[in-house]
């Protein structure tokens, strides 16, 4: 074959590969053909002083609605008679492995409304998923004081990720973001088939080779820092910071007139099984902690979460313990900490009972006291149902 024809073949191959990828994403996910969103990180933007979801952004199977929330279209103002629950957290809550509509906030909404219908209850529920990958508590706090508050939630469900507290630096409010966070036009022309190729190449590697690559990444990260940089035991200052942030979270949720529900953070190791390769996959994201430290920190953080809830009189759902008790870690977690659809269903079920108990309790209190539930008193009275 002549060189020119080889070149034409290559050109056609690459163009069709890219075009088909775009058409496929358009048909399957509704991604615009010229989308500028090229990664899950592009789903976030810095707006009104906080990190928020980029409205209507879509990356592969993950899509945000017009308010920048993961889930179906909704309005900023709650519908009359509907109890609005907002879930906040990081990638576990956002839902990485689950198919669209199967992440735990969506399953929670379905489960609550089905239960309400069965019991002929007048309550109807709407669950808004305001989580985003990589959201630590300080970032969530900014959101709570801003765009999440404007959603007028009745209940805020918090699924904190303690692992952020053994990261290179302690979690802090975002400071390194550009005020103008728009995505440039040139991004629309970048190849979208590349992530598919990278994923396919990874899938070809044997598990042992992938593990070696992760180990190498971890070592490279460690070498950038002086000896003693790694956490080989639980860093107490970080744990104290987690406790402090969590208490601040409870106070902030109450200050916007909502009831908080805390959840303990689960992971695939809590049932006692130990998969070294899986542990390394987790450490790769937090190379400052050894695998033992990372796992131990999550366990201790669970105890802190329970304590904070007890001290603050807040409903707590011990997801970590429940999932560990089931002994089905392989089925409930898609990796070290993210849920499978089955895991998400289990979390939703656990939460459903707590939410219903909270709603029943507050309804009873309202009936007895004849007063509107206003946890902190600072929230503007809502004209539209909810827990009030």
């Amino acid at each position: 074959m002549k060189p020119l024809r080889i070149l034409v073949h290559l050109l056609v191959f690459v163009l069709v590969l890219e075009l088909t990828t775009r058409i496929d994403e358009r048909l399957r996910f509704g991604t615009p053909l010229m989308s500028r969103v090229l990664s899950s990180e592009d789903l976030r933007e810095f707006r009104e002083g906080a990190v928020q979801g980029r409205p209507n952004a879509r990356y592969q199977k993950w899509g945000l609605n017009e308010l920048g929330l993961r889930g179906p279209s909704t309005t900023r103002e709650p519908r009359p008679g509907v109890i609005r629950i907002v879930t906040v957290g990081a990638s576990e809550t956002f839902g990485m492995a689950e198919a669209e509509g199967r992440e735990y906030p969506r399953q929670l909404e379905d489960s609550l409304n089905r239960a309400a219908e069965r019991q002929s209850s007048t309550h109807r529920f709407e669950v808004l998923n305001a989580s985003l990958p990589g959201m630590s508590i300080p970032s969530i706090l900014l959101g709570l004081r801003g765009h999440i508050r404007s959603l007028s939630p009745d209940v805020v469900v918090v699924y904190p990720s303690p692992s952020f507290y053994v990261d290179r630096e302690a979690p802090h409010p975002p400071t390194d973001v550009q005020p103008d966070d728009t995505l440039s036009l040139s991004r629309a022309f970048r190849p979208r088939v590349l992530p598919r190729i990278v994923d396919a190449a990874k899938s070809l590697l044997p598990a042992a080779a992938l593990d070696r690559l992760r180990e190498r990444d971890i070592q490279k990260s460690i070498e950038e820092y002086p000896p003693g940089w790694r956490f080989t035991s639980i860093p107490q200052d970080r744990l104290a910071l987690y406790s402090q942030h969590l208490r601040e979270m409870v106070g902030t949720v109450r200050s916007i007139g909502a009831e908080p529900i805390l959840m303990t953070h689960g992971n695939a190791f809590m049932d006692g099984t130990r998969n070294e390769a899986l542990a390394r996959a987790w450490v790769r994201f937090y190379p400052r902690a050894t695998a033992n430290t990372l796992i131990a920190f999550d366990s201790v953080a669970r105890a802190v979460t329970l304590q904070v809830a007890k001290d603050s009189g807040v409903v707590v759902v011990d997801v970590a313990a429940d999932l560990a008790r089931s002994g089905k870690g392989d089925h409930l977690y898609s990796d070290f900490a993210h849920f499978t659809e089955l895991g998400a269903a289990r979390v939703a079920t656990d939460l459903r009972d707590s939410v219903r108990a909270l709603v029943d309790r507050t309804t009873r209190e309202r009936d007895v006291a004849g007063v509107v539930l206003q946890a902190s008193g600072s929230r503007a009275p809502r004209a539209t149902g909810g827990l009030q």
């Binding site: 069709v16 590969l17 890219e18």
Partner: protein, 463 residues
Amino acid sequence: MLFNSVVFLFAFLPVTYAVFWMLRSTQARYIWLAVTGYVFYAYWDARFCLLMLFSTLVSYFAGVALLRWDTDARRRKLCMVIPIVVDLSLLGFFKYTNFLLDTVADVSRAFGGDPPVRHLNVILPIGISFYTFHTISYIVDSYRRVIKPTRNFFEFAAYVSLFSQLVAGPIVRFRQIEADLENIGTTSRTQWIPIGIRFFVIGLVEKVIVADSLAAFVDPALASYHTLSTAATWLAMLGYSFQLYFDFSGYSTMAVGLGYLFGLRIPQNFNSPYKALDPSDFWKRWHISLSTVMRDYLYIPLGGNREGEAKTYRNLMITMLLGGLWHGASWNFVIWGGYHGVLLLTYRRFASSWDRLPAIVRQLAMFLFAVVGWVFFRATTMTMAMAMLGRMFVPVAGQLEPAAALALPLVLVAALWAMVGPNAFEMPLERQWKSRLALTASFAASLALILGSRPSPFLYFQF
């Protein structure tokens, strides 16, 4: 391992191909094909390699014994019966045990009794229906002296475990590739590359672009079949009819292409079945390798059409009922087979009148008959089949799947290709660079879809 998976396309196939052509001797190539067949199979479940090996060994030694006792009729018969009994016992145990137990349990319950034995936890080894038929056809043909059994174990093992046809056919008889296997050491690599690649890419397009795109609409629609309107049920079933055809035909066409890449000419398995003008024509075009195996090893031994009309009808019905049962251990498949048996009998009875109808009318009518039959094939229970038929034939309101707007043009394109357009064997083999460019583009489009999703299994894997 699936032909439409990254690991097959970029690891298994290149390595298998490169090593195969690096090896020079016939024996080395037999061994390599046999080994890669087992690796291909082990990727699904290594345990069942032993089952395939056992079946291979039994038939191989029976073949050698047939050579040894060439003039001893009694022993020759034994050499045929033993491997057939072994193979059918394995197939029966793994595929039909639970079907039998469930049927006994249903009958017991119907008479108010308790089921004597509960459901057993038996895993159906993938492809067992296909490689069992490979070994049975080999031993029967050897017994009938149609072929001379091979003394070379690896030649036979390569034939049984040939990865291109191992798990979903076509059911290639030894006699069909015997000559190519004999010449495998001297075959030309470059001679078959263009045709092999062409068939493989066309099959990939059929599977990945057409069948899987249809599945995206058909599967969710049929999952909620009880909510569909009459129009939506028809649309879903039309979609399924084309999905099934392009899925299985795609697999078979890829198998043909892969065969060519290794110097083996695997026969055509689909010849545009939706162009069939009558039931008899349909079965000469759909899953040709199974139809001919059923004809040669069941229908004709039963007497075929040589013993009068009544026995011909009986033989046809037995063949079609067992053909249905071969597809799956469920009464739905038996009914599907029976339905086609009735179509064949009816056609046989009224052929002279039917054949006078215009061709287009016969083609459309035969297609609709096939679509109705697919209801039994697709439904997981009899209740589902009856409910779907009810929705198809008694107008009922319901939802039209949200994806229906997208599905309709896709179904139309699929219909045009399947009912009017050429199949892979009818497309001219042009060596002009524009044709090659079209193949390059087709491969790129298929690859983009493969990279973007988990490979979907072929529908016929379940059989």
